[in-house]
Symmetry: D3
């Protein structure tokens, strides 16, 4: 990794990102071919947010938040900070003061594979934070890293300017060039889901709606009455 702060990165269109965010993480993840999900290990520090923005990426040394400070200056309204470390670290590299600085700049949230602190204050500020850990353990500001280089989390590549969507299901990333098709696919999927929802409310079954009876049969799944099953054991 080169120790660099990359400036002037292009961002995804904020209006498009906002529309995408309304679909929620699970729908967007489906809409882009089941990619982009940052995994079950990154959780909201408090439930109830749904947020979208454009990625500013940060690579920190474990136990060190120097590069988060460098990243703040690169932030514009609509950005979301995406932080990772060169090796696993649960330390509280982010808290209320950094959130204050970000909120002033119009940043919409933080995503990190590391830890955060000041949870009560972040909650009170209504600043959405998604992290792998909560920890009061402080960090130093001593070691170089990078801002706005491509990073990978849970096998998903994130470039600066990509769309980041986060809610109670976690975080999904959409590459900038694919946001247009993601919007179309999410819209199509939502319409399909709306129709399914309406049908399920009337009592339709997924078995019929998704043609699964045939799948069950082809995979050799038998139907057996309870009594017959007990006798066969």
């Amino acid at each position: 990794m080169r120790n660099v702060v990359v400036t002037g990165c292009p961002r995804a269109d904020l209006a498009e990102v906002a529309t995408l965010a309304e679909f929620g993480v699970a729908t967007v993840h489906e809409a882009i071919g089941r990619t982009g999900y940052l995994g079950p290990g990154i959780r909201p520090v408090y439930l109830g947010s749904r947020v979208g923005g454009t990625a500013i990426t940060v690579v920190c040394w474990p136990g060190d938040n120097l590069m988060i400070h460098a990243a703040v200056e690169q932030c514009r309204p609509g950005d979301i900070l995406v932080v990772t470390t060169t090796s696993p670290s649960s330390d509280g590299a982010f808290g209320e003061l950094l959130a204050t600085s970000l909120q002033h700049r119009g940043v919409r949230g933080l995503v990190t594979t590391g830890g955060v602190r000041d949870v009560a204050e972040l909650h009170a500020m209504n600043f959405p934070v998604f992290s792998a850990a909560v920890s009061a353990q402080g960090t130093v500001k001593a070691t170089a890293g990078a801002v706005n280089v491509p990073v990978s989390i849970n096998g998903q590549r994130i470039c600066p300017g990509d769309a980041v969507i986060a809610d109670d299901d976690g975080v999904v990333v959409v590459e900038r060039p694919r946001i247009g098709s993601a919007l179309a696919a999410a819209q199509a999927r939502t319409e399909k889901e709306n129709a399914s929802r309406a049908a399920f409310r009337e009592g339709a079954l997924g078995l019929d709606r998704y043609d699964l009876r045939d799948v069950l049969s082809k995979r050799g799944v038998e139907y057996l009455d309870h009594e017959a099953y007990l006798e066969s054991q």
Copy 2:
């Protein structure tokens, strides 16, 4: 495991299960001799539910929710779906559309050793879900499994029709034939706990109420004044 959907399973009496649920998970676990608890790894996706129902069991392949769809058709009012996988999987095999289908059929909740998604929507629907993970990662509908065969979670055997009780402490299962005695034991325990609670509110000590001073003494526990202790170190 035989690839089978077992139909027409007998269920525990729903009125009895409802009464049992009111005692809560911890009390029921105690009432049946400290068995049936599905372990600390299965947690509510949002706090604040307490629910009871009769088990419909499902065995899925990891990353595949075909058999959940097959199970929905077997559900009746009062049931709770209990899902496990043949090997560990955190994928979001269950979400809001399946919950809609289940809610239409009068199903009271879902318990899974795997993952779920659409947490915000499940919360808004007030559909209780207890899982080992939250994950937006989708699943396929491609591989055979089983519905309504006996399963084991955390060493506890669960048969279709057994009582399932879940709250903020997790999930406990009561075998169908033992529900009557569980009710009696839970009632007795609750009365005893009510008496203890009243006594503790007046300042009684567990040491006296449970005759523990004698236990401490027999196990060789000494009482030492702080000063004497420091000197002895």
Copy 3:
């Protein structure tokens, strides 16, 4: 470990502890030189508490809460029970009845490296609990341990009478002799943070406020325009 219940331990001054608690866990942890934090593994069982008190320490055998009962008798108003086990145990060694007993005695909360149960009831009682696990699994009262001996959690030594502060960030411990200096340092840090917060709200940057531009430069961090960066790859 000697099997002993140490009585009559001196406590930190309760008024000082209460003042310290208002600063919160992260600030106090910083104020005492980034020590005393019990780690990210101990979490509130429900969000929203901030509490301070004086430690009563308990060492239990796994799956056994005999010594918690012995510890209750040693508690005075303002205390917080700090429980650990001789080896890892997630069992629910603490619940609503013990909390009732503690609340009667004026105890302010519980911290444990093990498990607790009756989460809904503890929440309803507004009794703050910080634990490594929630588990309905019950415990026995059969094996000796210790009350009010020094214990260590996450590398932090805790003596009876030390100050314990807990909130949504976890738990921090301040040794009794250092509470005075902790108060002064927390006050100084808070004033400094208030000034920083005000500055950040006006758009100041941590880079300038903490003189980090020089650090970045000394560590060899370069600034590169996005186009130049892409060309260099």
Copy 4:
């Protein structure tokens, strides 16, 4: 769980179990329909054993090995001790002295969801041990449990007398009534694998041997030249 020591359990035929053991854990697991595997969490404490025997089951309280002592008396030549605890425990409940006792009785190994100690000595004795943890932490002998009741590990039910096979891949259990069919299926599978191995050594491909080209095609997998792929990105 009833606190009971069940005596005089019937065992699987030892000659059959020995034959089954020679096939190894992975083959036997396949032969019985991909069931019976105790999971990746139970590992050999040293590599290089392959062993089979008949299960003597033990349920212990965490941190307590009283019931292992009770189980020793129930052991006969050819048995394997299968130990689990009522909640997770890594304590070293088993070591060289118990192994000496078991070896005298002709017991062939130990499987446990808990911990063991004296690893160097067990290795020197050539006594095969498969466990979830190694820990020097000792246990007490104070709490009731059970011997020779059905237990469940990783969702697999194990009854006393069932066949237990263990090697570097972990542990698999075969229900007593299914050992005959398991032997036949393992033999058939081994013959099929021998043929496959011979073919693979000659350069045959699984794609052809298992008719997977058609599966790939039906699932929509395309073949693309490297250059074409890069252009399509």
Copy 5:
């Protein structure tokens, strides 16, 4: 992810990769600026191998090894298979038969974020395998994935044809275009380390050799005699 098998990928020069492998994982990781390491979670299934080759990448569905079979056909002498799954899976997706097939084709080893089985046989074949789990649990061959698309493991991007080096320290990946500079840097580092090793064998200290006394002093580290330290506490 597009369901595709990419054919005809260019590979790194095998002679260069072989030379690089001799430096070992830790040295190569250092030589390329502390990048490329696949993390402490991927371990050799048996100790004692050191191997290098060119990456063939595979993305599988959890519990499904269809795409490994598709990948075998794409392998040439000197390749190493690098397998990951779309979500975490410990299943034994790879074993002795696939290894036989790979060995016939001159493949040098396997790296996987999932599980493997037939450990004893792989050891006997001397086929190096590095995995996150060992599990006898079998997989199906039913779901699409990809071969030879870029993948990310532990934040490191791996393209087909990149150099993969593995030993008892785990696995490191070197991008194809950087192998030349990696060789030079590894050689330079090794010479420096040889000099350091010779000096350390004579009693030199890292404090002097790396000019760390000054660092300690600047960071405020004091030297205190034991007696003075005790008095200051």
Copy 6:
């Protein structure tokens, strides 16, 4: 934590420590009242060592091994380095060059709650290392810490000069003032175990030797014939 290197610490008597080491970790842990064990998370990087020495303690920042370099200078023949970090870190902070330096000084091994690398080389050097992780990930030398201050691992306090014993069961620490009594107790326990071992080899049972039949009976454990048990279910 004060940033300090404490010099001139007194050590335990090396001859006594060597004698103690011969008893092995499990026996010494028992001999000092089941304390001092550093837990199942610290494992030998290769099996087969048994070593004893006097502790030199080191506290590092995560991802930083500056203080290990400072500690080397403080080492004398017979010492064992005991390293911990201020928050969890798996990084490879220790490897072959530091081991070379330590071996020159007569240091007998390394114990760490963090990670190490160069496993193959350490094995070849026969330098015993006990760690929580193996990782090729390098560290910096930038942040202050401490040498020879008291540290705590897994709840056990370790002071410089204490005896450290390590083998395939993990690591145990004996406080310097208790080594004499530990030796006596370990000797007594070994004699008792020798007698037990001889008895067990002749077929004696722990049930009789430890008077456990009475314990079973008092705890309400019943003996039931297999047939009677099945009928009672």
